[in-house]
Point group: none
Chain length 149, copies 2
């Protein structure tokens, strides 16, 4: 293949299209060593060719167990056009989960909740019971939820 950047790009795209993967995980140093190039080259290719513009999300983490995750956005049109029936709480919990796993920010979580609110067509119901009070109630009984080791 002509140049290194193309090799890297093709590798990632190849992985993404393997069994319609939603995303790929890559370890920068590892891949760099494999392809015999500088680690920063991976960064370069990812940042120039896997942009939101082209329908990609990129997330990464430093330190031990670090990684780069390239997420392929599903094209809006043509896929999955049927009606979508989902338990609202499941949807909310999914958002929660994505948030807890650091996959989305606070703002993004709020936005997705807001999106659900809009779609669900319910008026802004119910003032929130104080979280403090809620948690206070839960603190009362100590030993119930001991984790099984």
């Amino acid at each position: 293949m002509r140049n290194l950047a193309d090799v890297i790009e093709n590798f990632i795209i190849g992985e993404l299209f393997t069994e319609n993967a939603k995303f790929v995980l890559v370890q920068r140093n590892e891949l760099a060593e494999q392809l015999e190039c500088a680690p920063s080259q991976i960064s370069y290719v990812v940042s120039t060719r896997f942009t939101p513009d082209r329908g990609f999300l990129v997330e990464s983490k430093r330190g031990a167990g670090g990684f780069i995750r390239i997420i392929k956005m599903q094209t809006a049109v043509g896929k999955n056009t049927g009606a979508l029936t989902v338990n609202n709480m499941d949807a909310r919990q999914t958002i929660e989960y994505l948030f807890l796993k650091h996959l989305i920010t606070t703002r993004e979580a709020v936005l997705m909740h807001y999106g659900l609110d809009l779609l669900g067509e319910h008026a802004s119901e119910k003032d929130k019971q104080s979280i403090v009070q809620e948690s206070y109630k839960r603190i009362s009984s100590p030993n119930d939820r001991k984790a099984k080791l």
Copy 2:
């Protein structure tokens, strides 16, 4: 799983998501021995990943009978629990609209599409296997879609 912090986090989150537990009790030394790591590692994970920011309360006690309690706070938003039926294309167009109106960023739009993708995959499933569990399996362990080098 290679990443110790993730192992610990997943263990705790797993416990929290088991039958919707409100909190988990953990004994630091006990869990540390179980997972074959330094006790302080438990502290590290709890302090970095179960912050109030992310909707967690943490309490602990030293000495004999000591413990660490991780409490999952209820999200204030989204209390309606009914099923939600939405035309997928409408949802996508709503996202498009928000994006065109500059109400959300590109990344946010992509994320919301991504969320719909996740939800859409479960449209046909009837049983109670929740989306949370699904996304848990897919997203929690970074190695799932690890590119084979």
